[in-house]
Symmetry: C2
Subunit: 254 residues, 2 copies
């Protein structure tokens, strides 16, 4: 049998490896949230795993264009491979999402917008976002939250530091120590009484011990996974759900 | 920046989705066993996730050629995309591994051979393999184990049934019930005193509760991951390790 089609035809494209274990955790979340009861009901996709992409936070701080250029080129490879949409399970990379979306003909399923919309559905009016130093300092979630009338609250330097330690420990394969740092950060956040705390880095949901995901936590991994499932379902039903985050939505943002 | 290269160039190719959560678990294992301390030290790969591939066990029982043809075509797509080697985190699909390896110009990193070799390194002289009914009934591991002087032991029908239940429960997203069934099967196996018990289905390692992977269990997921890491390291060092499972090794099997 010869398949006369591109490798991504009819599939979701995922750009991963930022980092590798976090991407695996995202795929587990995607599988678990697909409500599939047999292998064949899951979403077909191509994952291009590019751990070689240099650190996103450093690139943001330095203002260099190399890193967003590499990411954009990799997304274009997924488009050229025939994928119907692309998703990036990395919050920090979404700093350049307008740039990515504008260079693609296919939708970019936007993790930041999907997560902000979920917070709004929960009725949140205020939120703290925990993520990389760059995500927090550059208020990555600011526009998306404020458009939905959710106030993005600032945190103290010690909380940013503890979150950064949690991310670094997760990346180095020490989830227990990572969770201790994240628990410190969460404790400090809760003293400020936000309606929700967004886990806005893909390294964070995976270190939360099973069964302890509190109701005030919004998991950006799960929000992106749900948006991917809705995109996939919209393909088969032909009905576009209004809250699926496509590139057009991003292009229309102020 | 334009990347004038194929999507898989310089990358490992992985054919997944059989099933989807098991593939995510394999990728986590691959990430954890890569001994990487930063994002950039992980293995770059393309995962073609094809949950739409019909059930492998049913195809083996029916003797139909459609399913191996689809798998072979998907592996060829990974080869055409420029991948340097391919791996399939699905034991049952390895029933057709000679067919796949002979149609590829790049190595197929063979999960069954890698797992058998690991059992040999542990000093095993006898083994029970737990997997799909087809894997067990058709003695998928027979040749590879016997070549290494490891006797493949048979089990009772009740053990095959319990293992099949464990796999089905894992696929349906019920790891706790799956583990109960697997624990029944393991108990029956241990009464036969094999040197090792091979978890020869990718659905099984993921339901073993953390910290309870006993020393007599051989995890085929971990063995494939280690073989992939060795392949990747051999690319950068230029030194081929003798026990990396390439297609030539399979072609030379009796």
């Amino acid at each position: 049998m010869t398949l006369n089609c591109s490798i991504g035809e009819g599939r979701l494209g995922i750009l991963g490896g930022m980092g590798s274990e976090a991407t695996a955790y995202f795929l587990r979340t995607l599988a678990q949230r697909s409500q599939a009861t047999s292998d064949q009901e899951h979403i077909p996709f191509v994952l291009l795993s590019c751990p070689e992409i240099p650190d996103r936070s450093s690139a943001m701080e330095a203002g260099t264009v190399d890193v967003p250029s590499i990411i954009r080129s990799r997304l274009e490879q997924l488009e050229d491979a025939g994928c119907g949409a692309v998703a990036i399970p990395c919050n920090t990379a979404h700093y350049w999402r307008r740039d990515f979306a504008s260079s693609l003909q296919i939708p970019l399923i936007d993790m930041v917008s999907a997560t902000a919309q979920h917070a709004a559905r929960l009725g949140a009016r205020s939120a703290i976002v925990l993520g990389t130093r760059s995500t927090m300092k550059h208020r990555l979630y600011g526009d998306s939250l404020e458009k939905l009338c959710i106030r993005l609250m600032d945190v103290e330097e010690a909380t940013i530091r503890a979150t950064g330690c949690a991310i670094a420990l997760a990346k180095s394969g020490d989830p227990d120590s990572s969770w201790k740092q994240l628990a410190h950060a969460l404790h400090a956040c809760r003293a400020l009484h936000p309606d929700v705390i967004i886990l806005g880095c893909t390294e964070l949901p995976m270190v939360v011990p099973p069964g302890t995901m509190a109701v005030d936590l919004v998991d950006s991994d799960a929000c992106l996974a749900d948006a991917c499932v809705r995109w996939w379902q919209s393909l088969s039903t032909g009905v576009e759900e209004p809250d699926i985050q496509f590139s057009e939505e991003i292009a229309n943002e102020p």
